[in-house]
């Protein structure tokens, strides 16, 4: 696994946890929400989304249950757990530290 995909993986976890604070959602909705909220800059690759969801579920940061979708189909809904909320706080902190650091370097060398 390369460094850059490590970073992407961590970022995806952060984004998933963050959008799930809005409401429980299924995978498709999570991808759509991230796409919309990022002004269509970020497109979540499905091949990465579902492994990430399952990983987060097994870390007990999110919980899954089956429910009815908007168009009456069975869909798997993910919900943030309280451990997940804690995790989100730490991830947000480390992300802002990282982005401040990167911005600092970019600005310092005009």
């Amino acid at each position: 696994m390369t460094k850059s995909s490590d970073l992407l993986l961590g970022t995806l976890d952060l984004l998933i946890l963050k959008v799930l604070t809005l409401e429980p959602m299924h995978g498709w909705a999570i991808a759509q929400r991230i796409h919309q909220l990022s002004d269509e800059v970020l497109t979540v690759n499905q091949g990465a989304l579902y492994p990430a969801l399952h990983r987060l579920e097994h870390q007990a940061w999110i919980e899954a249950s089956w429910g009815e979708s908007e168009n009456n189909r069975r869909a798997k809904y993910y919900r943030l757990t309280s451990a997940g909320r804690q995790r989100l706080k730490t991830e947000e902190k480390s992300w802002s530290r990282l982005s401040v650091g990167v911005q600092g370097v970019l600005k310092a060398i005009g």
Partner: protein
């Protein structure tokens, strides 16, 4: 708590791998259908919409495999495979397997036996209150050709020792004997100890605490 939950979940998905995978493909199927619906809303005909959805999704098999790995039980299943492979190999080479098991059993057995001895003789102290202060007195009598320490002092000798010696805080006498013990309908041969009145009061006596409880 979280570790425990996570562990439970992993264990569960180990036993329900098939169910997990079925649920997963249903989940991925739902995603594909949503993408198709989305594409059709943008004006694509159904077939093109499905094809586009599938194309943008990439390999379903790969996603399933990645999810399986993300569930974090892959190593446990691999361990299971290795274990079964080991058993099959053993079944094929019976004599080798028997020899291996015997060697291990003997080795472990020998170690255990040696340790039990070592523990009893050297490590474990006597189960008395104050073992350093406890001594055993005996009166060797070469006429009997018996081990010297199995013959205790005679009662007269004991009373002399008790009255005249100043080296001991206290002295107590005991003698081993065999008696018939009757429980009404049954009679049993029982090993007993005849002791003097002081036996249960001697500070380091092994029987003191238990005897007091019985009273």
């Amino acid at each position: 708590m979280r570790t425990l939950q996570s562990l439970l979940r992993r264990t569960r998905s180990l036993f329900t791998r098939e169910a997990s995978n079925v649920a997963l493909s249903e989940e991925l199927q739902f995603h594909l259908e949503q993408a198709t619906v989305d594409n059709m809303a943008r004006g694509m005909p159904r077939e093109a919409a499905e094809a586009a959805a599938r194309q943008s999704f990439g390999s379903v098999a790969e996603a399933v495999e990645s999810c399986y790995e993300a569930r974090g039980v892959a190593w446990l299943e691999d361990l299971g495979h290795d274990f079964r492979y080991g058993l099959r190999t053993f079944a094929k080479h019976r004599s080798f397997a028997t020899l291996t098991v015997l060697t291990l059993a003997l080795g472990i057995g020998a170690c255990t036996a040696f340790f039990s001895l070592f523990n009893a003789v050297l490590l474990r102290s006597l189960p008395y209150g104050d073992p350093e202060r406890l001594v055993y007195l005996f009166t060797p009598n070469p006429q009997f050709h018996l081990p010297a320490d199995i013959i205790g002092p005679s009662r007269a000798d004991f009373l002399d020792l008790k009255n005249d010696s100043r080296s001991y805080a206290d002295l107590t006498l005991f003698e081993q004997a065999m008696y018939n013990l009757s429980t009404g309908q049954q009679v049993q041969r029982a090993g007993v100890a005849k002791v003097d009145a002081n036996f249960f009061n001697t500070p380091t006596s092994p029987c003191a605490p238990r005897f007091l409880r019985m009273l």
